[in-house]
Symmetry: D2
Subunit: 306 residues, 4 copies
């Protein structure tokens, strides 16, 4: 495995076209696109790293997997009255579908859906409390208490967050936000600004590898059925309108973030985190996807084969 990762790292760092770093969040715009990291965490607790696997980066939309997991724990299936579970076929920040479908976002991984999920888990609490809860959960599943929020990134998002504010107010107009819009957005911007390394992220994904149990710590995080369902949502909706492409090329459930990270799950086999800040035109990590494609070719981990 270590050899495989080293190979991938060599191939990826040699790629001339690294994609474009997200420019609409100023704090992310100045990240060096040359960086690359990959971590593979196995159920038995082993972790293999290559490249800048310990470098912290902004997990951005990958946090949506964690907030969805929390929401399912708190509300159960009631969350599905607030958000759907179908691919949207639209960009991450599209508002068209919201108007056509009465303010109910298609799925929890597009921005509108994740804002609705954030609202759902607030349950009348203040942003600070909700963020504390989210952070505690992420630290728990990653088994690492050092994980925190990058306040500079959170502020930077806030300043340029008009598109998300538009989505939030739109849902509020349909009664699909219960807490004040400002507070929901503040909470959303902050949990998107959690900083993690590839290694931490790979470990945080382990509960999705083993039917809800993090086998390295022995803790059950969610039921087997719920773990499988979260994986199915990552598969169908984890890469916005590039989800089909990711399924076709990589063949694993995965969730990307505009910070350049991707968390991918090979059920029964491994939790994988990659990071390369340059994005493709849809907003998914260009070389991160390529690294995962190489990894799956070398390991045969696609869930569509055997």
């Amino acid at each position: 495995m270590q050899d495989i990762l080293n190979d991938i790292c060599k191939t990826i760092t040699a790629e001339p076209n690294k994609g474009k770093v997200a420019s609409y969040i100023p704090e992310l715009a100045c990240i060096d696109p040359e960086q690359f990291g990959i971590s593979v965490a196995l159920p038995d607790g082993q972790v293999f790293n290559a490249g800048s696997a310990h470098q912290l980066f902004s997990i951005q939309s990958i946090s949506k997997v964690f907030t969805l997991t929390i929401a399912l724990g708190k509300l159960g299936d009631a969350i599905w009255s607030r958000v759907g579970r179908e691919p949207s076929g639209d960009p991450f920040n599209s508002i068209v579908q919201l108007e056509h479908e009465g303010g109910k976002p298609r799925n929890p991984f597009i921005n509108a859906g994740a804002i609705a999920v954030t609202d759902a888990i607030m349950m009348g609490h203040k942003p600070r409390e909700t963020l504390g809860e989210i952070l505690q959960f992420v630290r728990f599943i990653a088994d690492d208490n050092s994980i925190g929020i990058d306040e500079k990134v959170a502020q930077s998002e806030k300043l340029t967050g008009d598109r998300n504010a538009s989505l939030a107010h739109f849902m509020a107009a349909f009664g699909n936000l219960k807490n004040p819009v400002e507070q929901v957005l503040g909470t959303y911007f902050h949990h998107c600004s959690i900083s993690m390394s590839c290694e931490q992220l790979a470990q945080a994904g382990l509960f999705l590898v083993s039917d809800g149990i993090n086998e390295s710590t022995g803790f059950r995080v969610v039921s087997a059925q719920r773990a499988r369902r979260i994986n199915s949502l990552m598969m169908m909706c984890g890469h916005y309108d590039g989800s089909g492409e990711f399924a076709y090329r990589v063949g694993l459930p995965g969730k990307s973030g505009v910070g350049g990270g991707i968390l991918a799950i090979a059920p029964g086999k491994a939790s994988i985190a990659v990071w390369s800040p340059g994005l493709d035109s849809i907003g998914n990590s260009k070389l991160g996807t390529q690294a995962l494609e190489l990894l799956v070719q070398k390991t045969g981990w696609s869930i569509f084969g055997h």
Copy 2:
């Protein structure tokens, strides 16, 4: 396995709400909604049946899996210049996305995409020749030369096929059909009218279970990579705007048809065909989906767990 299928059959036939039989194709509208069949074909050649597993039914859109496979064989990746591979988020017969995206259908499993694929495999040949080729392929992968086309259903579709004619002419206007519209539609209506039993269908899917090889016959149908990619497309797009729901509930790549059939693939494990003519509001078999959900619960075959 036989006990599991018998149990499922008992549960499903006892369900009071069977959904609604497709009404827009007259010949299908008169099918008895009480019928149910299920077949599970294992790579080693064993087949388990329950209910009306030998009853022939119209496979309808399930044929799109076979025409896509043929198109990939003939054109390779060039087919992707004609059709995309993303979930559409729209109903099976929607034309909106076609206008917004210049006549290129989102994926090969919505009607527009399947019509484009049908056009692509015609390559200037007459409908009769193309249909011969499709039928030959289906007979080959199912290892059953008795499979044929129900001409009554084909005629019935033709009479009510204005929506598909609209899609075809729209693509033709953008130069995305090379053969005469009438001939492409005739070919399309006919391959949708192939009649198969659950048992035949399950056997036809075996090459997708074992990385491209039908292990019971020993024939390689497609490469391992291609088999995985076809599975990924079935997962992402096989149930129209109900694909997310199917992934969430069943967790297997699958393709439905308005005849009430579903072909589902459990990679490495089994090819499954179910049939129940009543449809849900999206156009997928209501009890067929439920039967697959039960089967996956009992066997643990979800590709999202281990």
Copy 3:
């Protein structure tokens, strides 16, 4: 003329179905739907009234005619880089078109367009200053210094203005708002909350009757060409996705507001204001439209005949 208005008033007040009072602005929801007023102002200064023509009501979107006139005065044709001049075919608060056309509203009379126009006339000034300017202009054209803003209505709009906030943030995300969103919305909500009577409103419209000159006061407000162009915009876009219906039935340029008022212009003949709080399904005054239809039938004032 007085007889005509009395007749219309009698017919309208006898109508059993008055439409539905706008419910989404609480302060407007409690207006008595039984009220009706009509005023006809002639270029020579004569005004004919019937019903509650002196009752103040919230002019709401009719204020968009005045802010557009101010914006044209301040920016000239440069305003058209910020907003289009085509009917939208969509409801007044739709956001779909904004996403498809990069944050540029179709015309100045849908909500998004009017918010952009409000932003344009602020030019860095505070809401209070801009509102002062708008109010001064309305008092000037109506020749009535008693006209003011209903602060309760303005607060009421603010509380329920999520849909407008969504539109504003969406445009801000595309750089099509220059002032802080909160301030633009505050200004917008306030100018929509101007209270006027039918008589005041009819007088305010006189400059559009006589090619830019209010002949009763002798003041030129805008050039002849500009007056005609404002009329053309009222004709094409003044009733949202009911503009075609209004043109068909009434045949005059007009602008409606959800307060139940309509300002209609018969070029060379009269400025007409009607008020009936009940709305049709599109959000235009149901009986107000009917009153104008009757007036045009009796006077032959349609601009489509002679």
Copy 4:
């Protein structure tokens, strides 16, 4: 008037940028873009011409005014159950709105709407009979029996008419066509291929100038109310998604055709026909619009002033 037209003719023919001749109908693609004609017909029977006012050209969508008039005569208001009367905000050949609104076109002047109107006036008759009727009507209102159909253009449209075939089949799928699609399209293509000169066209429009009566012949064609309503529809929908622009610049009800002609009505004053084959990006005659703008400036005929 003759001097005005000569001036306009001089200005227009000196314009270097003539727009682009419609390319999608081969027979129209080879028209010389340098040609220009203008005719002004007064109610008293006088006609003023300049340029190639006697040159025949393909009236294309201008024929939709005549078929709508016929349909209103045959069906009365019942036609409005088949087609709406709102601007669409979409291009002439868009299908998106049709899907969103159940196969009912927004208005009779976009292609879909005109096809539905053509179907409505067929009433079970054969294309030849219906065309005879349309031609007879056009000859009657223009008082000129020499008017005919250019069969070459009709054939040319048929060959490239996939977009219109798509619209027609789409409506047929919703039950909004009663006659066979092929026959409706054949009739539609043929009435679009009527050839007229500016002079003939201007005379054909006279009934819309004088509240339904052609005062030069003395014949009443439609009621005053109907004439005004047809004018309102031309105003609101006559130039597709450029209708707002035409209202803003010209200020007259008008209907354009991709052959480069425009028929404009100044109620009570004149019927005007212009022809310049080069089109703008929306599909309306570029210099034709400019000529009308000049004419209205010189005559003050805008319906929005006095």
